[in-house]
């Protein structure tokens, strides 16, 4: 059952990432996907008594925190410049 929950979390996160235009919502989607992975690690790590999996979870939480800091501060900076912080405004990657 746990794999189904984590798969649902991953897909929901991906859907938020791909479908929502607000950067804040996209960052939230990203967090969901990371935690889907973490859920798997924790569940299967405790089942197989694998300490490495638990260690990876701690690392991932640290990386996710850093990512949230960078992402949120970028969003704040954009808002500070009067932007709506939506992906439809950030078209610098246009080919």
């Amino acid at each position: 059952m746990v794999w189904a929950v984590s798969a649902a979390l991953l897909i929901l996160g991906l859907a938020a990432l791909v479908l929502r235009r607000q950067l804040l919502a996209m960052v939230l989607g990203l967090e969901l996907m990371i935690n889907a992975a973490n859920l798997n690690f924790v569940f299967y790590g405790s089942r197989r008594l694998d300490a490495a999996a638990t260690a990876i979870v701690l690392l991932v939480i640290a990386v996710a925190a850093a990512e949230a800091v960078v992402g949120l501060s970028l969003i704040l900076a954009l808002r500070g410049k009067g932007s709506a912080a939506e992906s439809s405004e950030l078209l610098g990657l246009q080919g």
Partner: protein, 613 residues
């Protein structure tokens, strides 16, 4: 055979190096100084050519293969240098005359915005001619032959903003294409028949063939057509008079040293082949005679200064071809060399006049009485005119006498009569030009003359040196034994009386009775038009060859290029455009799209990995 001297490499290598230097360095950074490397190269070439001439005079000759150029199936073509008496005699003249004209051009082109470009083209012309002379096989000769054609095209069309110059350049190039195609066909024919195009090997193999071998006759005929285009022989002479559109130093170089001499040189070089094709030789003699006589008559009625000289060149080339045709290539080459000196001199004198007038062309009606304002030019022109008419002891006398002797030796009264008529005509047209341009203000003359003056030293010194050469080169060559010591009294007397007759006739018609030159034109305007178009040949060639070819080209341009090719290309371009528009919607810069594609790609990869293991 001793090792090939350094001079042989210098004559070919120096101009190439100078051209590279002038193009990559001077043309871009020091455009007013482009003539420096080029004049230095001219000096080196002249010294090297003099060295080669001295060695060749002592009887040395070389034929050295440098490297294999092309290998194809059983055949290979080498790139080499052949230095022998024939090559060196023309080479020495080309080097000296070419160098003097280069120096002259520094003065003549000084105020032209295309100064630097002119010198690059000019030296390319010179370089190609030298390469042509020292080639040791037909294909290498053909390569430089095309180089000469290209440089002449660029120089005739030098003032490309003028429509007439563009048309003249195109006419020269296309007429020469006909000849070049024949030349190439001849080279391929020789390669197929004899398995080599290298002169020494080819001539050995030809020697064992019977006389009147049909393949050989075809090859010789095609070679002659190639030579006829370059050396302006009927029916391919049409381009030369129009080629006067280029700057005057170009005309001088083209008529004296580099372009038109190539055809005569090719015929002289192909002597061992021509010996085996007596029918072709007869044809060459008669075409030469017809061209010489016809153009001498036309030269006597033309009004444009440079065109008179152009027809005079055609006429003298006809004389050389007659000498080739009667089997005396030596006489042809001797006349080629002497003609180079005095024709360059005459053109540069005409250039002096044009430069002083500040125009690119002038007719004899627009000048006149120049002797008072430009005495030095007039004196030099007189030397050139006397040499051209064949008055002893000037250079033209010796070489023209050799040609007359050669023609006389054939025993054909009609041919000899034609040659003598050409001698009368030469003297007539050149003194007509002299009287009309340098003496006597005529009643209907107009144009600015008050400010006329002699030109600077850059232009005067080459003219004086050429006058010296035109005066003494023949006597000097005769004195040191380069020309046969025995002068035949019979032909010398005939030639001299022909020249004197022409001179007397010109005095009578154009000094004593100067109105005559207009009166006959007014009385018979149709005759003038007919003669002005080379006895109708220019009109005929235009209607029968040039106009249908142009119509065909227009037809193809519309029906094939526009309708088929362009439509196909346009539709393929539109397809590409549509595709790229479709593709570009994938990358409109939305972060969400990219993330979607990234996720899809990751899913695909994961799917592949799961499927594989």
């Amino acid at each position: 055979m001793s090792a090939i001297p350094v001079s042989a490499f210098l004559v070919l290598g120096t101009p190439a190096l100078a051209l590279a230097l002038a193009f990559f360095l001077f043309h871009r950074r020091l455009a007013r100084r482009t003539h420096w490397p080029i004049l230095a190269s001219c000096a080196v070439v002249t010294l090297a050519a003099a060295d080669l001439a001295l060695r060749a005079w002592r009887g040395e000759a070389w034929d050295q293969t440098l490297f294999t150029w092309i290998v194809g199936g059983p055949w290979s073509v080498e790139f080499g240098i052949r230095i022998d008496a024939l090559c060196v005699s023309v080479l020495a003249m080309v080097a000296v005359v070419g160098t003097l004209i280069h120096v002259y051009a520094v003065g003549y082109m000084a105020h032209d915005p295309g100064f630097s470009r002119f010198f690059l083209y000019f030296h390319l012309f010179f370089f190609s001619m030298i390469g042509l002379l020292v080639s040791n096989n037909y294909l290498q000769l053909y390569l430089f032959w095309e180089g000469v054609g290209l440089a002449s095209y660029l120089l005739i069309g030098f003032w490309y903003e003028r429509a007439s110059a563009r048309a003249a350049a195109l006419k020269a190039f296309l007429t020469n294409r006909i000849g070049d195609a024949c030349f190439l066909a001849a080279v391929l024919l020789l390669l197929a028949q004899f398995g080599t195009v290298q002169f020494s090997e080819l001539f050995e193999r030809v020697a064992s063939r019977p006389v009147s071998d049909p393949w050989l006759a075809w090859a010789c005929g095609l070679l002659f057509l190639g030579a006829a285009a370059k050396s302006a022989q009927f029916p391919l002479h049409v381009w030369l008079p129009d080629a006067m559109e280029g700057p005057t130093p170009t005309s001088a170089l083209m008529h004296a040293a580099t372009m038109v001499t190539a055809g005569v040189f090719l015929m002289a070089r192909s002597g061992p082949l021509l010996e085996k094709a007596p029918e072709v030789l007869g044809l060459i003699a008669w075409i030469g005679a017809g061209t010489a006589l016809g153009s001498a008559i036309v030269a006597a009625m033309k009004k444009d200064l440079k065109r008179i000289l152009a027809y005079s060149t055609v006429s003298h080339l006809g004389l050389m071809m007659m000498a080739i045709g009667v089997g005396h290539a030596f006489a042809a080459v001797a006349h080629l060399v002497m003609h180079g000196f005095f024709k360059a001199l005459l053109f540069l004198c005409a250039g002096n006049v044009l430069h002083a007038l500040g125009r690119s062309t002038a007719t004899v009606d627009e000048v006149g009485g120049l002797a008072r304002r430009m005495p030095l030019t007039a004196a030099c022109f007189a030397v050139g005119a006397l040499a051209l008419a064949g008055i002893p002891p000037l250079s033209g006398f010796f070489s023209k006498d050799l040609v007359l002797e050669a023609v006389d030796g054939r025993g054909d009264r009609l041919l000899m009569g034609a040659a003598l008529a050409v001698a009368v005509g030469s003297s007539l047209y050149i003194f007509r030009m002299f009287w009309l341009a340098f003496f006597g203000d005529r009643p209907r003359q107009g144009g600015p003359r008050a400010q006329l003056h002699e030109n600077g030293a850059w232009m005067q010194i080459p003219v004086l040196l050429l006058a010296l050469l035109s005066f003494g080169a023949g006597a000097a060559a005769w004195g040191v034994g380069l020309l046969p010591a025995e002068l035949s009294g019979h032909t010398a007397g005939l030639g001299l009386s022909a020249a004197a007759a022409g001179l007397a006739l010109s005095c009578l018609l154009f000094m004593a009775w100067p109105q005559w030159d207009w009166n006959w034109r007014e009385r018979w305007p149709g005759l003038e038009r007919w003669m002005d178009a080379d006895f109708g040949w220019q009109t005929f060639a235009h209607r029968v060859v040039a106009a249908p070819a142009a119509a065909f080209a227009r037809f193809v341009a519309w029906n094939w290029d526009r309708r088929v090719l362009d439509r196909f290309l346009e539709s393929s371009a539109e397809t590409c455009l549509g595709l790229s528009e479709g593709m570009s919607s994938l990358s409109r810069g939305m972060l969400n799209d990219y993330l979607w594609w990234m996720a899809a790609g990751a899913a695909c990869l994961a799917g592949c990995v799961l499927w594989a293991f």
